[in-house]
């Protein structure tokens, strides 16, 4: 791989062909940008060019410098805080803050949406500069212009709908409408589809394509290579703060393997580790499981479901967001979600009544939550305390913590799971996403479960860490545990699971052995029960 950097240097220095290639005009050029934090070099001499009306994807592992680069561009790090120059619209720009870049039409939409939930769509869009007369907001103008903007992003909601009543996908579109209200010229989207289902993702990407037609350029940061491949005109790969590859999607074929290789600087011969499955007797069985919504108590969310996992088996649960997968898992886990729950559960052949989370843990069930920051970890607490949180009793005879054996256990998991931290006293919030996820997994392994339910275990973590998580899943299965994996990434389910169940609208609508499962068959099983825009289907099912 040492040759990669030299081979690609002409591309990395893309600005050099600025003058001689008039067919494309660069709207943005970032030249030789370097930035360091307290001795850590986050960006090294990065050159990055966006042509007018181009969708430019920026990919790289977590910590590769994508967000830092975008913060330099948008003025979060003011001029003088970094080296290098930013040329926008042919002029060198020295942004002092975000307002300066916004004034030129550079709008960034962050992963965490910046909308105020209890205000309406219109109020959110015109939060900073509402049309007004003598300081009094002109509500008619606000309403009218909001309607225009919503139409542009393909939303039919009323402008006075509260943002909290919208799904995440629509909220994302409202953010974009808000960007449009500021006369956007360069739209930066930081992992816009991370929390969207396939349907909403496709709708959002279609918007980007529509904007391109209007001449609005976009920078798309994403971990999802399939969607990057679908919409991007150019893909730039960052690694360790450097541009290591840049692919012109119009001129050359987009190979996922090439991108991944550049991202991680190693050949992932197999994106999924091999495992020889030895599947034993059923370890976990659910019969006629029914759950109602905790607020709307008449609504059945899970509809009389049967489910089984065997020893040493990895069972995947596929489905669109909102299919009821998380609700199913959480209701099993000590009734942590839902109301009016009925059904029977067997663990290891014995019928159990898991009436509380503590009872579920005692019985040998573990649930690794989908949202590790909100539901999985205490970010302020150190790694050690997080690891022992769910089974503190094991290191605390008579309720008194034996700090030395606690430390020993924590260090064991740190080594076993290869958690990268300065020591187990480091704050968990300071770790990267992948390492945080390993801390959560350690916590649940320490409870010595018979069955683990992993809810989106690789969401938002980079390719290298994903591979490590897959290895851990394999080890668990080899150790004879039953593993349930909920995931929205179908390639991952296909690569890791022995069997895949498809959930839709609170019921299982299909089941495939690993050998016979394909993305297309899974998607068809969902669609048989759900009529969805054909266009979406085509977009998502492209191999």
């Amino acid at each position: 791989m040492t040759g990669a950097a030299t081979r690609l240097s002409p591309i990395a220095a893309g600005w050099t062909n600025d003058g001689c290639n008039d067919a494309m005009t660069a709207i943005l050029e970032m030249r030789g940008v370097s930035k360091s934090f307290a001795g850590v070099q986050a960006l090294r001499d990065v050159n990055f060019t966006v042509e007018a009306g181009q969708i430019h994807a920026l990919v790289g592992e977590n910590g590769a410098g994508k967000s830092t680069l975008m913060k330099v561009l948008s003025g979060v790090y003011p001029h003088g805080d970094y080296e290098g120059s930013i040329i926008f619209d042919g002029e060198e720009r020295r942004f002092r803050d975000v307002n300066d870049s916004e004034a030129l039409g550079i709008i960034i939409i962050h992963q965490e949406l910046a909308l105020i939930p209890l205000l309406s769509i219109a109020e959110n869009i015109f939060l900073s500069h509402p049309p007004s007369r003598l300081g009094v907001i002109d509500r008619d103008a606000v309403y009218r212009r909001t309607q225009e903007l919503l139409a542009q992003v393909g939303l039919t909601e009323m402008p006075d709908t509260l943002v909290t009543d919208l799904g995440v996908g629509k909220q994302q579109l409202v953010e974009i409408a808000k960007a449009l209200s500021k006369r956007v010229r360069l739209l930066i989207l930081d992992e816009p589809t991370a929390s969207l289902n396939e349907n909403d993702s496709a709708a959002l990407l279609d918007r980007l394509l529509a904007f391109r037609a209007q001449g609005i350029a976009s920078i798309l940061i994403s971990h999802k290579l399939s969607e990057v491949a679908r919409v991007a005109d150019r893909i730039t790969v960052l690694r360790d703060g450097r541009t290591v590859d840049s692919i012109d999607c119009l001129a050359e074929p987009v190979e996922e393997d090439r991108i991944i290789r550049s991202m991680v600087n190693r050949d992932l011969a197999h994106r999924f580790p091999q495992r020889s499955a030895t599947i034993g007797a059923p370890v976990f069985a659910v019969q006629d499981w029914t759950v109602h919504h905790p607020l709307h108590r008449d609504r059945r969310v899970i509809k009389g479901v049967d489910f089984e996992v065997r020893r040493g088996e990895v069972v995947g649960i596929a489905g669109l967001m909102g299919a009821g997968r998380t609700e199913f898992a959480m209701s099993l886990f000590g009734r942590a979600w839902g109301d009016r729950i009925s059904g029977r559960i067997w663990l290891d052949g014995r019928e159990v009544n898991l009436s509380s989370v503590a009872a579920a843990i005692d019985a040998g069930l573990a649930y690794v939550t989908e949202d590790r920051k909100q539901l999985g970890l205490i970010l302020d607490a150190d790694v050690r305390k997080n690891i022992t949180l769910a089974s503190l009793g094991r290191v605390a005879p008579q309720g008194m913590i034996d700090d030395m054996s606690e430390l020993r256990v924590a260090n064991d998991y740190r080594n076993r799971m290869r958690i990268r931290c300065s020591d187990v006293y480091q704050e968990t919030g300071q770790l990267s996403g992948g390492n945080q996820q390993k801390v959560v997994l350690s916590k649940w392994l320490m409870t010595d479960p018979k069955v683990l339910i992993l809810d989106e275990p690789t969401r938002g973590i980079d390719v290298g860490a994903k591979y490590e998580i897959y290895c851990i899943i394999n080890e668990l299965a080899e150790a004879g545990k039953g593993v349930v994996m909920i995931s929205s990434e179908m390639p991952e389910l296909l690569g890791v699971c022995d069997r895949i169940c498809v959930m839709n609208d609170g019921a299982f609508v299909g089941e495939f052995a690993a050998a016979e499962a394909t993305q297309e068959r899974i998607m068809r099983a969902i669609m048989r029960n759900k009529q969805i825009d054909k266009k979406v289907l085509q977009g998502d099912l492209r191999p």
């Binding site: 503590a358 843990i361 970890l377 205490i378 970010l379 302020d380």
Partner: protein, 393 residues
């Protein structure tokens, strides 16, 4: 109490780290030194020191409970009113109805527990913001105290009850002149015990390969700790010996320090404050534990109310007014986080002492109650700002 190990191998890093750990203690010493000089030595006169302890005992006792509440991410505004109300109940029981002191004492603690349970129930199980529940409680119990005392002061208490606050431990070696050797001895034993346990801890950590503080630093720290405790024990001993309430207070501080740092319950309380949903999905019974922290607070508020009533030897309708502010301020000065999950028993105690020393010192200096409040308010703001600044750095 310091469960933090040092990660930086170099000594400068070590000292920097520990300055933050001991910063609060250093501030307390600085403030004491300041008033000692300004009051020409009055602050640390044995009589005044004993008074200082008595004056602040109820704040410290309540700060222990408040710390747990704040760590779970809640607040209790009612503690002052509850303390006043329980004092009133004690007076009615003992003075009007002549109930025996031990029985009345237990009944009052039970009343405190009930009050805590009543408030904790709404907070823990009905998810009503604690600010609102305890604001309501503050009004209710202030009013009830007024009602059962019929607007008048009730007293005096039986002498045995007064001993709770104004009594001193019995002297085992009478006739030793002005010095009370038992108290001095207890102080020395306590100091030796503290140094011994910290030495044992250090050896245990070292045997497990954990970085421990440098030996020289450890010796100096232990010597200083020993000297300070013996010095204060000596001062106390040269007045009338250890006040009963100081013994109770020290025992409670030790108990709560142990519970918060070394027990499963303590760890779970911090987990709730750190991330309640993650805690509950880890099998922690968050609601029950939140409820129990309020029950605990009620009992401690009741105890503080008893101590205060015994000290004044009368229950007045205004007793306890504004205590909640001193108690909450003590916790925040001591480094507790208003967002929950962070705070130490030692910090809250030091915070209470800082407030106490300032109250006492400023009174001796003759600063009016008006400017005392201004200064205390600024110190609270300053302490928290400093803490926030330190954490950002």
């Amino acid at each position: 109490m310091t469960d933090k190990t040092v990660t930086l191998p170099v000594h400068t890093g070590f000292i920097k780290n520990n300055l933050r750990n001991y910063g609060m203690l250093l501030s307390l010493f600085a403030i004491m030194l300041f008033f000692q000089v300004m009051t020409d030595g009055t602050l640390l006169q044995p009589l005044n020191l004993t008074n200082l302890v008595l004056q602040n005992s109820y704040i410290v006792i309540m700060a222990l409970g408040m710390l747990l509440i704040i760590v779970t991410g809640h607040i209790d505004l009612s503690v002052g009113s509850v303390a006043g109300f329980v004092g009133a109940v004690a007076a009615v029981l003992m003075v009007r109805y002549h109930v025996a002191y031990p029985l009345a004492f237990l009944a009052c603690l039970f009343v405190g527990a009930l009050i805590g349970a009543a408030q904790g129930y709404w907070v823990a199980y009905f998810k009503i913001p604690s600010f609102i529940v305890t604001l309501a409680g503050m009004l209710v119990f202030k009013g009830l105290a007024l009602a059962i005392l019929a607007g008048q002061s009730v007293g005096p208490f039986p002498p045995t009850f007064q001993k709770l606050s104004s009594g001193f431990i019995p002297e085992l070696f009478p006739g030793a002149g002005t010095l009370y050797p038992t108290s001095l001895l207890i102080g020395a034993v306590l100091a030796v015990a503290l140094v011994y346990t910290s030495a044992k801890n250090r050896a245990r950590q070292a045997s497990h390969g954990i970085d421990v503080e440098p030996f020289g630093f450890f010796v100096a720290k232990s010597a200083l700790l020993f000297a300070v405790i013996v010095f204060f024990a000596g001062l106390i001993a040269s007045h009338r010996g250890l006040p009963n309430v100081l013994v109770i207070m020290t025992a409670l501080i030790g108990l709560y320090a142990f519970v918060t740092t070394r027990t499963v319950v303590g760890r779970h309380i911090y987990a709730i404050g750190g991330n309640a949903r993650a805690a509950s999905l880890s099998g922690i019974k968050t609601e029950r534990l939140t409820f129990l922290t309020f029950v605990n607070m009620g009992v401690l508020a009741a105890l503080a109310g008893l101590v205060f009533a015994a000290r004044l030897n009368t229950a007045t309708p205004k007793a306890g007014a504004g205590f909640e502010l001193d108690v909450i301020a003590a916790c925040f000065i001591g480094g507790a986080s208003a967002y929950g999950g962070v705070g130490k028993v030692g910090g809250a105690v030091i915070g209470a002492m800082i407030m106490g020393v300032m109250n006492n010192g400023m009174s001796i200096l003759g600063i009016g109650i008006d400017y005392q409040q201004v200064i205390k308010g600024l110190v609270l703001l300053g302490a928290v700002c400093l803490d926030v600044y330190n954490q950002r750095r």
